[in-house]
Symmetry: C2
Subunit: 142 residues, 2 copies
DNA sequence: GTAGAACCTATGGGTAACCCATAGGTCAAG
DNA sequence: CTTGACCTATGGGTTACCCATAGGTTCTAC
């Protein structure tokens, strides 16, 4: 099957399929005449595997590693366990970051309710924001 | 003061200061002889404002808008209120996404405890992952 | 048989907020 | 006058795609 058909059967866009092919997660055959990528049913299974792995938080690069292991006949399962175990605390940390952010935002909105919209002068841009501490800025760890 | 001094006083890297200058959040003067960027105390105040705004979740582009308003003598405060009010539910949604992800990960790790590390065959890469549903993949809305 | 739709290819650019490397100019101190 | 510390501008990397473009192919209808 060609890109579009695989994409529809897997529930992703054709661009996503091409992306995975570029990133070596899929290795379709090529039609010798026109260079079209030809995917098999095994590729569809692979795509579904990729979807599940993405849903569990694995990155595309990690999934490539997992698939490479499997393609060489090695069990990728220990790797999978390790990756998940080390990723989970990162996700938890990210959640905590975002919760702290949300709390700051809510506190700000609340305390702003009784503050007027001032005009900017040479030293103040917006007292709403300036009424907050600066110090260590937020780390963006998506 | 030059880039490095502003950066140290503001608690950021010199690269970050250059980034903000490139993005028009800071508009330093230029030394006529050597082209060095020269920052004033007002720029330091501006940098501190930027830090506070970042900590409240504003993007660099949004902060540029806020500063542009203020530079034109308009109060940016209504904009600030609107931006924050519309960003907060997005943050909450992102938190919910990540919590769902974390829950999937924990469920996976738990159910995997009694599963062996299988060897890959033609149809299975890793049963650990394949034991999970695929369906709608996770949307990455950082 | 041929026009046009619908599909394919590869390439390159965009996203967010920086970080890092490079090449080359500047400056203060010893 | 030579280090070493600093400055400049440029371009590439990060993540997982999306989109536009130009040009080749296949399918469908007339």
């Amino acid at each position: 099957m060609k890109v579009n058909e695989l994409a529809k059967r897997g529930g992703v866009t054709a661009e996503t399929v091409r992306h995975y092919a570029r990133e070596q997660l899929l290795a379709p055959q090529r039609h010798p005449d026109n260079g079209y990528q030809l995917f098999s049913d095994t590729d569809l299974e692979r795509l579904r595997f990729i979807q599940r792995a993405r849903k569990l938080g694995f990155s595309v690069a990690e999934i490539r590693d997992i698939l490479t292991h499997a393609d060489q006949g090695d069990s990728p399962c220990p790797l999978v366990r390790d990756l998940l175990a080390s990723r989970l605390p990162q996700i938890r940390a990210r959640i905590a970051e975002l919760e702290a952010l949300a709390e700051r935002m809510e506190q700000a909105m609340e305390s702003w309710q009784q503050m007027p919209d001032g005009s900017p002068d040479g030293h103040s841009v917006c007292r709403l924001i300036e009424s907050f501490p600066d110090a260590p800025s937020i780390k963006e760890t998506p």
